[in-house]
Symmetry: C2
DNA sequence: ATGAAAGCGCTAACAG
DNA sequence: CTGTTAGCGCTTTCAT
């Protein structure tokens, strides 16, 4: 693939352009960077030289001398989760529009992956970081971070850095109130290790508060990873099915994300539990999938595109000096999308 | 966020380490790069200095002097399509395992996006490129490419560069033979602009050959973008429904990818066409989604993880000089996954 | 408005 | 085995 060195003509440098245009390399640099204070006539000559030589600035050299890239590092929870995929897509697009290239790293829910990816990104001197997720070992992550590199959390919140997210409490409340309004009295909150701790706690708290206000009793969070028949309540294993059988059965569930809710629908189908008659299910995120007729999952919608846009805005604001000072926290509004998993469709 | 320059201590450089260890910077460089020919004792001293100073090699400087990065550029068709998301995930992981960082760019099915992303990647001097998709304007893409940067196509084939893919013909044949075996006599081939031309043609050809061999008549490819009621056959609009109604109705469809097949299931549901009784549907890719009980889509499975692994292997092979010479083309085997969209489940 | 010059931190010959 | 040296291509003062 590579030609022998002697035969491959070196790409033209700023020096070649300078010679061709009979100016100094500083002037060429000024023209290339669009700095003002270059005579119109000179600028023209330089641009002509650039064109005829086919000069392309060497990004590596620029990055080196400035000790800064125009790369935005993006930490993705798991690309297989459409929520992250959609967020990642949005972030990539907005970043590109603003002149940054996105470097997506998939941390697959693993703290070790997260740390190694952050280290790689920092080593690359990325201009900024966008976290779409964070699992475990916050200390190790923070240690790997360069304090001069702005970071923003999108779709989740950490106090020590900028963030853009929806209120987990508010979202969970919307969902819970909907279930309570439908007459459900025993409603479980299902979460999993794939959902960030803090987000999950917020959602649980929101759920509890609605239940209390309605005079109903809330239970502890139930952990279920979306496969197998066994869940955990307060660290003790219980069969998932036991939650939905017997006198004390739950008739509705709020899931901590759509993927889990869909897995629960699967489970219900296998167990011949009718949804929504025997079991109402609400998810969280509103991934596209949730809207398919065959899934038809009621869920709490996160404004994914707006989150992505705001997150990019936030880091870029720091990078361009428009924002300084302590961490900012923007909160966007969740909304409820009612579908067939809670309300039987009119036939 | 940034401390005043005077107060932020410059990160230690190779020179500081050299001074501290009382050796020359070349020796430090040799130790850092793991080059042999360094006395054990010296190596120890240097490593100690590195540790006490907390020295971290400056990747930007290295990249600059070598005029090469360890970044792999990855062109993704559309992250919202789980097929690409799963591929991207695999590529990122395998690349990282081999010491490369992946830079994912989403081209969203647009030629302009593709060109601009490739330009950005080339400007960054990525070590290699992995194309998971390619839409239109191949010439513009090739023009933007640096001939010294190896590129590989994963999941699709282009003759002018390395590729790893499954045979579209073989895959389509598996699917078609399945439908023919089930007794279907009028089977449509549905494709869309989101599927690469070449792949789509291969799948259509495979489908046709099975139909001919069975003495059945194949038709032209039907274009449908997954939404709306209107499709196009040979450039002329027809209502999608007309394909499935009347005496000449098709009783089965082979779709060019799973996402389209799922959209077709939606359509069928809306039109009260029963699947598989009135209409059998086969997809292509076998994204996870296809296996959900509520979707249960029969499909042609592409070995996504193997494709990703092989693709990374291929570029890395070029980069490390293990492969030279003309473009290589690896072909992996597709397989058929039969589910409820073609065969009614036993009750 | 333009030019001269000093690096940025590292690699890679080449000498010793 | 270790040190010396010459850049890589660009940005950025600082003179002119």
């Amino acid at each position: 693939v590579t030609l022998p060195d002697s035969r491959r003509p070196r790409a033209p440098t700023i020096l070649d352009v300078a010679a061709h245009a009979r100016v100094s390399k500083s002037t060429v640099s000024n023209v290339v960077r669009g700095s003002d204070g270059v005579a119109e006539e000179t600028r023209r000559r330089v641009q002509e030289a650039i064109a005829t030589l086919g000069y392309r600035p060497n990004a590596l050299a620029r990055q080196f001398v400035r000790q800064r890239t125009t790369i935005l590092g993006v930490l993705v929870g798991d690309l297989e989760n459409p929520f992250y995929a959609e967020m990642a897509k949005g972030v990539e697009r907005y970043a590109f529009e603003r002149g940054y290239t996105a470097m997506l790293c998939n941390i697959e829910g693993s703290p070790d992956f997260a740390v190694s990816r952050v280290e790689a990104l920092v080593e690359q001197h990325v201009a900024g970081l966008v976290f779409l997720a964070l699992f475990g070992g916050v200390d190790r992550i923070r240690a790997a971070l360069d304090p001069a590199t702005p970071a923003v959390f999108a779709g989740l919140r950490e106090d020590w850095a900028d963030s853009v997210s929806v209120s987990d409490r508010a979202g969970a409340k919307l969902a819970m109130q909907h279930l309570v309004d439908l007459g459900h009295e025993r409603i479980a909150y299902l979460t999993s290790s794939h959902v960030e701790e803090r987000a999950s706690r917020g959602r649980h708290a929101g759920a509890q508060s609605v239940l209390r206000a309605a005079g109903l009793s809330g239970g502890p969070a139930v952990y279920w990873d979306g496969e197998g028949e066994v869940a955990r309540v307060g660290g003790r294993p219980v069969t998932l099915l036991s939650l939905f059988k017997g006198r004390e059965r739950h008739t509705a569930v709020l899931c901590s994300n759509d993927l889990q809710a869909i897995a629960l629908l699967e489970f219900a189908d296998r167990q011949s539990l009718r949804v929504p008659e025997d079991l109402a299910v609400v998810g969280f995120d509103d991934i596209h999938l949730a809207g398919l007729a065959r899934i038809s999952l009621s869920t709490v919608r996160q404004p994914i595109d707006a989150l992505a846009a705001a997150a990019v805005d936030t880091v870029v604001g720091r990078l361009e000096g428009r924002t300084t000072g302590p961490a900012t926290h923007r909160s966007l509004e969740p909304s409820l999308v009612v579908r067939g998993s809670t309300v039987a469709r009119a036939a």
